[in-house]
Amino acid sequence: MERLGRWLSGGALALVILFLLLPILVVIPVSFTEAPVFRFPPEGFSLQWYEKIGRVDGLLGAIGLSARLALLATVISLLLGTLCAIALVRGVVPGAAAVSAFMLSPLMLPGLVLGIAMLQALREVGLRDAWWSLLLAHVVITLPFVMRTVLASLSLFDFGMVDAARTLGCSYPVALWRVLVPNILPGFVSGALFAFIASFDNYPVSMFLVDVRTKTLPIQLLNYLEISPDPTLAAVSTCLIALTVAILLLCDRLVGLRRLAPV
Amino acid sequence: MNDQHLAVRGASKRFGTASVLDDLSLAVARGEFVSLLGPSGCGKTTLLRCIAGLLRLDAGSIAVAGRDISALPAHRRNVGVVFQNYALFPHLTVAQNIGFGLRAQGVPAAAAAPRIAEALALVRMAEFADRPVTALSGGQQQRVAVARALVVRPTLLLLDEPFSALDRKLRETMQVELKHLLREVGITAIFVTHDQEEALVVSDRIAVMNAGRIEQLADPATLYQRPASLYVLDFVGQSMRLGGTVSAAGLGEVTVETRLGTVRAPGAFAPGSRVVVAVRPEAVTLTETPPGGRNTLAARVSEVSFLGSRTQLHLDLPAGEDRGVVELPRLPPGIGPGSAVPLAFPIADTMVFPAA
């Protein structure tokens, strides 16, 4: 019975992992096919679809736009989020628990509702510029990711260590720099990386805020999929997967993956 | 032994390439308290888990009351266990924790209730019946763990470091209290501990374990006064020990040349053997011209520790196999670090072991 349980749960885990990876891994061989369709198994080997990324109208532009957007949103979130986390952990904030729940609440909300609400409000105040609308909204998306990790690493930090450093001859700013910063840096960096991914991959909020000339990568990809599906999509997807894997490896080196679990 | 309640024969257990139990045998009489004493990694907890059925032996057998239980899974063995840190079920109340085993064994609620009440009364926890176990102090948690293990009327009780989670003062009280309670119930119990003082307090016999084997199984007094090996000597209590070479032997006595002088001890070793002579600290007195039948040595004091009822002198010896601790009921005037002292101790109390 006990062994049966072990077999069943081990089997379930194997199944879960296979199932989860299947749609991701299948994209990679398709991106190297010679045929202009997604047929499996892929035929031949070519890099033509990777070359085509540059020739497809608007794809490179969308990649650039999404990257700039994600980068800027992440930087703004880091600034706002770190200040807020310091206030919550070290300062006296009335209703601190409610405030931190509020700061994390955009995570709980259906993205589509947020997108619609933003669209309506921006119309109301007369902001019609897609780039600024996207940036305002993406900071809302990225801020909770930064808050969560920075808040967690700050509350785990033992501020007695700063005192210890001061008794060992460091001035207060030097003590913060030598002791506090190295301890919370991993949380800081991983929060930033996750915020970046969240913004870069966002679809449901962006779809209401883009215009014809300003399209983020996920929007452009979905459009392309609807208009002329060919393995170029697989090539872009493979690049995105590689980027994600690289970021995850980086995070693992910094903090260990298990501490990153978003839930 | 006729009244053999627990019999472990030829027990062996390996984890990968490491041998944790090595052809170990142990017999425990009905109603006896035996401690498994040893440093971490000696195999004592593994032996306990094998007896409980939480681990399978690679070879050998375990019998309780004449019945071989080696092949039974843990839940069919009826062997009670008090776990280290107690392993109480955090989602259940005190009474539900104690009733867990009865419920698991299908005892109807009506029959279980008086037994739970009885167990609660036994450990003096009746007024805590409906408290969550997470709200209890360490000592109270231990009582619940004991009651939970006893209420199913196990044939044998195993206790894994039962006092390690308690602070020193409480530990001493609980040791006596638990020993008394288990004696009252009349159960056979096996304690696992790495604390030699605890083993001396709670057990009828102590099995000193080393590298998966039992080094010596004896009552506390024998263990202390007649350790079977250097390992047991060092693990149980303190001692003054000196390395040396046998210079003469005969008539059940050897003469050993040590760094501090000549020592005679009961024993049989060939002249020229490398040995270690040892004496318990309280057997040593500071006397220059003692009556006959004593060894005398001269040493220098390096440190003095006042322990209340007695005072310890640490002797100035080079590091290595020599170690010198002497205990006096009262410190004579004028003795401090650096003093030269004459030591005397009975030849009969002097032990001699082959050098490691």
Partner: protein
Amino acid sequence: MKRDPLGLLALPGVGYLALVFLAPLLLLLWSSVRGPEGWTLDGYVRLLGDPYYRGVIAASLQLALITTGGALLLGYPAAFALARARGGWQVVLFALIFLPLTVSIIVKSFGWGIVLRRDGILNWALLNLGLIERPVRMIFTEGALYAGMINVFLPFMVLPIFAVVRMLDPRLPDAAATLGASPWFSFRRVTLPLSLPGVVAGVSLVFSLSVAAYVTPSLLMGDRYMTMSMVMAKAFLNLRDWQLGAAMAAVLLAMALAVVVGAAALQRRLGGR
């Protein structure tokens, strides 16, 4: 009261979210009850009075329930196996479950399409194994939608359960066994109740995410399976019926909020025992 200078550092972040996040939400809710002629429940009446929209709500709930149930069935035992895995293995297995969470949902849905196509990998495998004689139509079926949804949301079930299960004291089942509990009894009375907080967290997360799902159903089913999110997007982008869309958003918001608040209350009760 003396103002704490450090506490003031929270202001920019809180102010930003209040302005750019909370205010638009309140405006959205307000516009769902505000018509050209003042207060109105017209949006809600049209939404809840129309059998088509009621059907959409029911379909969304059904989809969320099936997704949650499927994810729980697969994810619960998997989380235990993950918690039992040792050292290095655990990190690798964890990463494999975590990775899909960070891969774009567009990429995953696109990949899922390749898997299910008539000339896709699943049909290819089944044909080669001799299980089927000609390719089976899988894409654009409800089964494919359920599988795709579970695929997207499964990590949100596994990870919270894993987080609880790996903290469970492994000696508790041992203690139960020494008290005479069979493995099944011990699972029912010890392991299951202690893992419930993780299950509640996973279920509420997967349910509130999947009831609002947009990308996966629209990519895998198109207009054949309308969910609340799809109707909402349509109302705003195509129909320009803002009142209807706002009412739908309010209903969706209420559902997601109810699940989150309900789960939090349940967690507190489970934790308080």
